[in-house]
Subunit: 394 residues, 2 copies
């Protein structure tokens, strides 16, 4: 069980949105007004709950978040907006707070309108179940194809004491987040009891999200529902520096992001694609992203194939200038390419053995002498991914 | 058997580069100097044969092309360049022409140096086998994971008669060509007996390639070896207009490009992703490209799932502005989304039945009232792709 964060309570119930009867509706509520900031998908097609949450986030203060799995409520037009509002209004009424203080979040199949009446019918039970100890129920209820719930914690020191950060996330497919200041099949909720001004919370959330979630990929698809929401209750009475809180957010986000990749649909490995030696970090990021999302690379990783040719070919199509004759490649710590050419079959065989044995390893591409470096986290892609995604709706 | 194009002879032999003993080395030769133009991969990592071919293409005149399968001779440094030159020199010597008049092209595994000595040993046999009737041998020898050889033909009228265009291609994986004026697991060779100035040949080749090969995708990976080479013998004595020749090139290239997608590794369907209603063709192309390369879309196509939510979600992340509330979707001729929302389960079921029954169909996304439209050709992606690519080198 996870330690509660002071000032917050959590609960989950089965509303019958999911056909399998699992808990599917989660609520997190602050005891009083909480300072709020969020990042939402940059996808042009934004799900109804994202539209509603974006509006409500503008005030910078919220009381809670209502999350359901089983239905993304995306591409549902006016009916979807109304459903998101009806569900949050019912929960707000049970809590005795204004409906604009509860933001909705949804994950699941695209194209079906949220069956709000199912949540309305259980809203009383949901509110009554709220408890500081409800973290694990909350984390489980928001899972869809996830194989495990994702929770991470950090402590941040401030004058006079320590505040806590609790992160809860879901995400295993349609993972290639691209979130900005107000998307989710990735849903991330950060709860802290730090006392922090809204402007400071918003300022530190964006880089923490950008350096972590925006640097992982399962399938290169950015969802219509991605949301990162931070709520600060202030209940610890501790005011850490913004930078300290940002660093704690980044640690929690990194752990959650990595857990999502590890849980990538059908994935057997978590692979850090580390690109270095380019002129700028932006260039290194573009190359790392291209390699990390290459299907030929990801299927080679699935096959435990130290296929450095595919690595360099993917790097080469990123649109970034480098000299292939200076390229070096290291897989799982084994150097297999130097000066653009192979170090031979023995090195490759050694790398392949390590790939097969390790759950997590790094692929390092050194592409020159420049200072620019960036690491993207990816997974292998094999039959499990196809099985999950070719039959998801049936 | 395919009709020869006057002024050209073709041959293929087994040099033992491929372990399975199949014919793997092909030669096409013009009877005299041929006007030449080429497009090569824009990948920064260019295979040795691409480097050599680019140099030799500068002269605008060639005698022939030497192609091998089984080894891409990519990422092979100086040794790779030397090997490409040794192989072409041996063939040129047998032909009695300057080595700079024969361009090399290679396809196969990346990272191994071309075993030039194997080609040298068979160069005499290869030249002696040259025949106008050798087209089918040539087409077969350049195949790797292709399930069938790819040949297309067109006739182009000019004053006083007709000239012919013969296209031969290979390509089934690592297909997401991005070729420009001087990449290949896609190799395309266009032979014509038209009499055409080099400047005109070069001018019409680029748009023909851009509108066809650069608008198809199997896996989103752009190869280090892609090459489109056009040779004009002039032997027909007919000089068509550049536009007429360009149109004939485009017809041949479109047929070859479609054949490559149909042969996409593990593919069961060829799907035209038609995007319309955007402000410009460039915007429509970007959206069509994003949808056509989306893994979630391609796995849904594999599952015969009319998953329009994934279509719209992919369109939404293309970075192009449109109003999802105006979006319409039609799959295999069945309208399933209007005004951004579903037309119901019956329409989707009908679309799914047609998807399952058809080898080729269209996915149409109408995203507004603008004039911009573009069609990208893609394939579904399933277990066959994983099998081919996770174990390719073993």
């Amino acid at each position: 069980m996870h330690t509660p964060v002071s000032g917050f309570r959590f609960a989950a119930v089965a509303s019958g949105i999911r056909k399998d009867g699992r808990i599917d509706t989660a609520l997190a509520v602050a005891d009083g007004p909480a300072v709020a900031a969020g990042l939402v998908t940059r996808n042009r097609v934004k799900a109804a709950p994202i539209v509603v949450a974006s509006e409500r986030l503008r005030a910078g203060s919220l009381r809670g978040v209502l999350v359901n799995s089983g239905c993304a409520n995306a591409c549902t037009g006016e009916a979807g907006l109304l459903a998101a509002k009806r569900a949050t209004a019912a929960v707000a009424a049970e809590l005795g707070v204004g409906e604009e203080l509860i933001v909705p979040a949804s994950t699941g199949v695209i194209g079906a309108v949220l069956p709000a009446e199912k949540i309305v019918a259980r809203s009383g039970d949901l509110v009554r179940a709220l408890s500081p100890a409800g973290v694990d129920d909350f984390a489980l209820a928001i899972c869809t194809t996830d194989r495990w719930p994702k929770v991470a914690e950090a402590v941040v020191e401030g004058p006079g004491g320590a505040a806590r950060v609790l992160g809860i996330a879901k995400g295993a497919g349609m993972i290639h987040p691209d979130v900005g200041p107000p998307q989710a099949t990735m849903l991330v909720f950060l709860f802290t009891d730090a006392k922090i001004p809204q402007s400071e919370l918003a300022r530190v959330l964006e880089p923490a999200g950008d350096r972590t979630f925006n640097a992982v990929t399962v399938d290169g698809d950015t969802s219509t529902n991605d949301l990162v929401l931070a709520l600060a209750s202030g209940a610890s009475g501790v005011t850490p520096s913004g930078d300290a809180l940002g660093a704690a957010f980044e640690r929690v986000c990194r752990e959650l992001a990595r857990s999502m990749v590890k849980d990538g649909e059908g994935a057997q490995h978590v692979v850090d694609v580390c690109v270095s030696g380019l002129a700028t970090e932006a260039e290194a990021r573009e190359v790392a992203r291209t390699v990390a999302t290459s299907l030929l690379v990801k299927t080679a990783l699935f096959g435990n194939d130290a296929n450095w040719g595919r690595l360099l070919a993917a790097a080469g199509r990123a649109g970034v200038a480098f000299d292939p004759r200076r390229a070096g490649v290291r897989i799982a710590g084994v150097e297999i390419v130097r000066g653009g050419v192979t170090l031979g079959a023995d090195a490759e065989a050694q790398a392949q053995k390590r790939m097969a044995d390790a759950v997590e390893y790094a692929v390092e591409l050194e592409l020159g002498g420049g200072p620019g470096r960036f690491t993207y986290v990816t997974s292998d892609l094999g039959h499990g991914y196809i099985d999950v995604n070719a039959g998801y709706r049936s």
